[in-house]
Structures are given as C-alpha cells and as structure tokens.
C-alpha cells in the first residue's frame, strides 16, 4: 500500500476545499450569534502577534519603554476580547445545541480549548513580572499545592511559567483551535433544531455516526470511494436556502475590528503594571514586620516553615479529602530549609567580612537547642513591643543572646537590597526561580498590600487586578466557591474547590455526551429567538402546503 496515496485520497475525500472554504452558507447564519467564533479567532491571532513582539524584546521593555508598555496593553486587551468573545461563543453554541448531528467532538475540542486558554492567560498573569504576578503566584500556589500539582508546576518559578505561557500552552491552544476549525468546516454549521422534539430526535439519529455508516455501506457494496464531503453537506443542508458568503472577507473584517478596538483600549486605558514588591522595600518600610518574619523562619514557627509539601515536612498547610492527601503524596519536591535559607546562610556570607556578626553567629549556632529556643521565644515576644530608631529595630531589655545583632545585620542586608540577590542564589549563574523571596514576602508583606487592593481570596482576589482594570473575570466561578459554606470555613477549601471545579469542568467538556441533559437547550428555547426567521418560514411553508392541499382536494 502506498501510504502517501492513501493519505492524499483520505484528505481529498474528507477535507475537500469546497467544505474548508465554502462560498455559500445556509441563510439562517445571518444572526450575530454566529460572529463570536471569528472574533475569538481574530483576537487569538492578535494575541500571538503582540505576544511574539513582547517575547522578542523582553520584560524590561514592556515595563520601561512607552511603546513596550503599549504593546503590553494591546496584548492585555486582546486577551480580554479573546475571553469575552470566547464566552459568548460558548453561550451561543450551547443554546444552539452546536454539538448535534455528529458534532460532539467539535464541542469537546472547543471546551478543552477554553480550559487551555484559561491556563494560558493564568500563566500570562504570572509572567507579567509585576505585583499582580507576585500576588497571583503566592495565592494560587496553595490551590495547586493542595492537589499535588504544585510539586511539579511551580507558580513562583518565573522561568517555568514564562515557558508555559509563551510556548507550551499557546501551542496547545493553536493546535486545538486548528482542530476545532477543521471539525467545524468539515461538518458544516449545525442546522436549527427541528420544529418538534420528535423530528429533532429523528434527525439526530440520521446524522450522528452517518459518516461511519456511509463508509461501511460503500465498502460493503463496493460502490467506490467513501462518500465525498461536499455531497454530505449538500444533503445535510437540503431544504435550507443557501446564500453567498465570504468567510475570508468576514475574517479580515473581524481581524481589523478587533485590532482597532484593542488599539483604542490600549491607547486610552493602558494596562495595570503595579511594580513588584522587593525585600528591600519591605525591610525599609516595615523593619519590625521584616524581622518578625525572619524570626518565624529561624524559630520554625512561621507559616512557610510549617507549610508542608512541596517545601518541607510540615503539616500547617497540608490539605486532604478524608484520608487522601494528594499534597503529601506528591512529596517535597522544592525543599526549603527556612532557617538556613532566610537567616543563617545570608548571615554567614555577611559574616565573612564582619567579625562581630561572625562571633554572634558562632554563639548562636554553638548554643544548645534549649538555649536557642529560649532566646528566640523571648526575642519574638519582644518584637511585639519593638520600635524603630534610625532604621534599627529596638526591643525592650531582655536575654536574647546574639539575636539582636544577628537580626540587625539581616535587616541591613534587607534594606540594602543584598537579601533580594542572596535569596535568588542556587549555585547556578542564571536565576529565574523566585520561590524563596516570594515565600518570604508571602508571610506578611504581600498579603498586607493585597488586602489594600481587595485581592485576597476572601475578596474574590484571583479574578481581580490592580487599579481599575478588569482582571481574570473568567475565573468568577472558581473564586465564587471560596465565598460560601462549606468552602469558606473549611481548612481543606482549596482541594474541595478544585474537586468541585474538576467535576464542573468535566461536565462542560462531556455535556453533549450526557443523555437527556444534552437536550436541555432545546427546552430552554433560546434557539427559537436565534433562528426565529427559520421557524417563521417553516410555519409559512406548512401553511402554504396546507392551503394548496385544501385547494387541490376542493
């Protein structure tokens, strides 16, 4: 068998150009309810083009150059238009029952594209390298860690998120959109629901799997090639009036319209770009908070020190459903010894040129565990009464051992900006993983600022953005669950919400395959509004037929 010939004949049979690029469509497509697919596609094209430009020049460009920021704004508004039109496309296809007559796979691919699109946008927000990216990373990590995904997909690893955003996920989205489009063109646009449920069921029975049935028939009878697709669509559309249609022209008009709209939005509204918070700013603006966070790390009482997988063996943030904990099962894949990473290692480096600090550090490390604990407890208690004088944290008199000297030096490392660099060290030259500094900031600094900006989880934070810009409004259902019982009072809220969303997402994807439920749009009746001319014409034809029959019999 010549494989090349086989593939060529199959492509010729199943994907004829007349179907891929038709110049006629059924007259019922005159509703604007058919616009949203092409608008989504146009915004995807512009997203890719603006994204290529952003990726080519790099993050500093979109933060510091006016033109770079404009392109970033264009990319942002294209993403908003993309999800806006994608949502409307999803709604209209739902009410049209777009999966009928052998189109279930088309819906399935479309729904998976929607989910992949959400992932692409989410990693895009994480790749902005601004405050939104910081906050979404530290807030989102808990949900991913709770279900074990965070062990392998680290939201605070900029290099990983950037790679996902600019290559892996867009590639998946483009492939899925291509497959979806191919399915739409090969099968044609779904007909309006039949006037009665009985007729619709008959039509569904006739067309679902018609392709396979016809193939078997032609093979069994030796009637030649498999049924050519133009005749498929000709048969499928029989009885419907066709009208001239220029798909390419419509696509170009949509592309131009989305381009102009996005440019107008980018020029007049720009986009959010709140600068990221640094350890230096935190140390300078809140020295007591900075030292308190560091002490929580040193004593092992801080939230990160007690977090659990994937960072350590703690249990403070481990979630489960009954006896099953995916977080524990995924294990410690991003090990962080909090006391060493945040306090002892940075101080050890500074001590190389500071004998006083070296002595203090030696005193602390050589003290018994009991003595260390006593110093740490006393100093931590004293921090609640601490004041700041000339940039130094001053605590009431007490027996704190070498801790005041150690913490004062750590604060100096923080205020000088040295700690920002020290926490990025990993033994390699290139750094793109911000897990350590972000975890440190996640204890106090980031939540404090996020609360001021209404971005906490209890404030529907995942869908919000800084400033007056729309955020990830498409995450509304995900954030909704966190606001109501039992989720808002559960210590396993993240895993429960993920489970709920997993079930709902699966229902969305496989909706056409659900018996009885997949007939819901028919009974909701919105299709009667979308195709009202069609039903009016059918009624007129029936009435004309009845009149004609009556005249003949009379």
């Amino acid at each position: 068998m010549n494989m090349t010939t086989a593939i060529r004949e199959r492509v010729r049979t199943w994907m004829p150009l007349e179907d891929l690029l038709p110049d006629q469509l059924p007259a019922f497509v005159r509703s604007p309810a058919y616009f949203f697919g092409v608008i989504t596609l146009s915004s995807l094209v512009l997203l890719i083009l603006s994204g290529i430009l952003l990726a080519a020049v790099g993050p500093q460009w979109w933060h510091n150059s006016p033109f770079g920021h404009f392109v970033n704004s264009l990319h942002f508004w294209c993403a908003e238009v993309f999800f806006f039109s994608l949502t409307l496309h999803l709604w209209t296809e739902f009410f049209k029952g777009g999966w009928r007559h052998g189109r279930r796979f088309t819906w399935l691919i479309g729904a998976i594209t929607f989910i992949a699109g959400i992932g692409t946008a989410f990693t895009g927000y994480l790749s902005q390298t601004n405050f939104d990216a910081q906050w979404i990373a530290v807030q989102g990590k808990d949900a991913l860690n709770a279900v074990g995904i965070g062990a392998f997909f680290n939201l605070m690893n900029f290099g990983q998120m950037y790679g996902f955003h600019i290559l892996i996920l867009p590639l998946i989205v483009v492939l899925l959109v291509g497959l979806h489009l191919l399915q739409v063109r090969i099968r044609g646009i779904v007909r309006p629901y039949a006037p009665t449920a009985k007729e619709e069921r008959a039509r569904e029975k006739l067309w679902r799997g018609a392709r396979r049935r016809k193939a078997k028939e032609t093979t069994a009878t030796g009637a030649g090639e498999q049924r050519p697709l133009p005749s498929d669509q000709a048969r499928y559309y029989r009885g419907l009036r066709m009208m001239p249609y220029d798909l390419v022209r419509e696509g170009l008009i949509a592309l131009l319209a989305v381009f102009v709209l996005s440019i107008v939005l980018a020029v007049f509204l720009s986009s959010a770009d709140e600068p990221p918070l640094t350890l230096q700013q935190y140390a300078q603006q809140n020295p007591v908070g900075f030292v308190t966070t560091a002490m929580g790390g040193l004593s092992g009482t801080g939230a990160v020190a007690q977090y659990g997988p994937p960072y350590n063996q703690g249990t403070g943030s481990v979630q489960s459903i009954g006896p099953v904990s995916l977080q524990d099962a995924a294990g410690v894949t991003i090990p962080i010894d909090v006391a060493q990473v945040y306090v002892l290692q940075p101080l050890a480096i500074a001590a190389q040129t500071d004998p006083q600090l070296a002595a203090a550090l030696q005193t602390f490390t050589q003290a018994s565990e009991q003595q260390q604990t006593a110093w740490m407890n006393a100093y931590t208690d004293a921090l609640s009464k601490a004041t700041v004088s000339n940039g130094h944290v001053v605590v009431p008199q007490g027996d704190y051992g070498p801790l005041p000297i150690m913490m004062d030096h750590l604060l100096t490392l923080g205020t000088s900006g040295a700690l920002d660099g020290l926490l990025l060290r990993s033994g390699d030259f290139y750094q793109n993983d911000f897990t350590k500094p972000l975890l440190f900031l996640s204890e106090d600094a980031l939540p404090t600022k996020a609360e001021q900006l209404n971005m906490l989880g209890s404030q529907w934070g995942m869908m919000n953005s800084t400033g007056n810009y729309p955020g990830q409004a498409w995450l509304w259902l995900y954030t909704f669950w966190y606001q109501i019982p039992p989720f808002n009072t559960s210590s396993n809220a993240d895993v429960l919400v993920w489970l709920t969303m997993a079930v709902l997402t699966l229902l969305l994807v496989v909706f056409p395959y659900l018996p009885f439920l997949n007939r819901l749009p028919y009974y909701l009746g919105v299709h009667r509004l979308i195709w009202r001319e069609y039903y009016r014409d059918v009624r007129a034809e029936v009435a004309a037929g009845a009149t004609s029959a009556a005249a003949e019999s009379g």
Partner: protein
C-alpha cells in the same frame, strides 16, 4: 485607571467595577446577538420553497432526509 480600584460590595459578593462592567457587557451583547439581525435590503427566506425542495430531491436520489 491606575488609581484606587472601585468595588461593589453586596452581601458576600465583592466585585470590582471593571469586572462588573465586563460581565454586564457580556450579558447585554449576548441579548443583542440573539435578538438583532444583520441589515439586509431584501428579506430572503431561510428555507427553500416546497417546489424547489421537491425539484432538488428528484435530482438527488441518494439517501433519505427528514424534512424540516
């Protein structure tokens, strides 16, 4: 747009004005999309007349079709 965000707080719902506008626009445009039609000079039927359908049916003897 870069200033302090405006929020609407109703019960347990806390939504930014920007997100609210996006969601409201979604609903409005959906309603418009299912109710409006493209402008056209002459209204044409969405289905073939019975005579046309019969003529076409006779020209194509292959298969069966459920009439709309």
């Amino acid at each position: 747009m870069g200033g302090p965000a405006q929020y609407l707080h109703v019960g347990f719902i806390l939504i930014s004005l920007a997100n609210l506008i996006v969601i409201a626009l979604l609903i409005v445009i959906f309603i418009l999309a299912v109710t409006l039609r493209r402008p056209e000079k002459h209204r044409i039927s969405t289905i073939e007349t019975v005579a046309e359908a019969v003529e076409k049916l006779s020209a194509d003897t292959a298969g069966t079709e459920v009439q709309p």
